[in-house]
Amino acid sequence: MNSSFDLNASFAALADPTRRAILARLALGEATVMELAKPFEMSQPAISQHLKVLEDAGLIVQRVEGTRRPRRLAKPGLEAMDQWLAMLRKALEKNYDRLDQVLAAMDSNKSKERKMR
């Protein structure tokens, strides 16, 4: 377990589209470097480099199984991402809460206009 989980590092890791795609793939289940390299048309060293960034960011972990080292998503990293998404969702909700007020004001203005006519 990485107790010094660094949210900034994980956001930085997310800045790259290939790394986001790797995370999306790992969301389906664990995979080896070879399996991860396949859909990306990238060399294994290039993928390994991305995996290192993701690992340092606390977003993925590896386990040793003979000569294989399958990677999977790391729970603390995922939870931090979830929190981030929840924050974004809150921002969207905030917009629509404000829109509720705008709509309420539109409605009362309309009633006033009607009275004036």
């Binding site: 986001r20 795609a21 969207l92 705008v102 539109m106």
Partner: protein
């Protein structure tokens, strides 16, 4: 009360729904008239929209500029494709952060729902990567400020080692 839903569909879609206690006409207008947009499409606290250009006709231009008290800012540009009062708006938008994000095709529909309106926003990104980026960083309208903050965090992280 959780009125908002946010979900993915297929590889490239993102669907947002929200119910409003106002008729479709009002919700539709609040999405198109700058004087209304500038009051609500602001994301987290602390952001304003000093520029709001919205030529509500097919081919019409969209430009929203956001600013915060620290002088940071970013903007969105887009074009309208279809407008069907008071039930549908189809447009394309992209963020400038300042790097430009992939085109997001947005179809927003407003359906009568009792005394209110059910809004459904269906976003289509060019590919699954672009949508993953959107989900990871929140390109969603109203999330832009957070996105900029994220960019700031990334920017600070990537520039600090070099500057030392």
């Amino acid at each position: 009360m959780s009125k908002l839903t946010l979900k993915t569909e297929g590889d490239t879609h993102l669907i947002v729904t929200r119910r409003f206690d106002a008729p479709p006409e009002a919700v539709y207008r609040a999405h198109l008239e700058p004087k209304f947009i500038q009051q609500w499409m602001l994301g987290p606290e602390g952001w304003t929209m000093p520029v709001c250009i919205n030529e509500a006709k097919p081919g019409g231009k969209i430009r929203y500029e956001w600013k915060n008290s620290n002088g940071q800012g970013f903007y969105l540009t887009g074009e309208f494709i279809e407008l069907k009062p008071y039930s549908k708006i189809v447009h394309i938008e992209r963020m400038h952060l300042p790097d430009v994000t992939p085109d997001n095709h947005v179809e927003t529909t407003f359906a009568s729902d009792g005394t209110g309106t059910l809004m459904t926003m269906r976003m289509t990104l060019p590919d699954s990567k672009a949508r993953a980026a959107m989900l990871a960083t929140g390109m969603e309208r109203g999330m832009e400020a957070s996105y900029v903050r994220l960019e700031g965090i990334i920017g600070a992280l990537t520039s600090s080692p070099a500057s030392r």
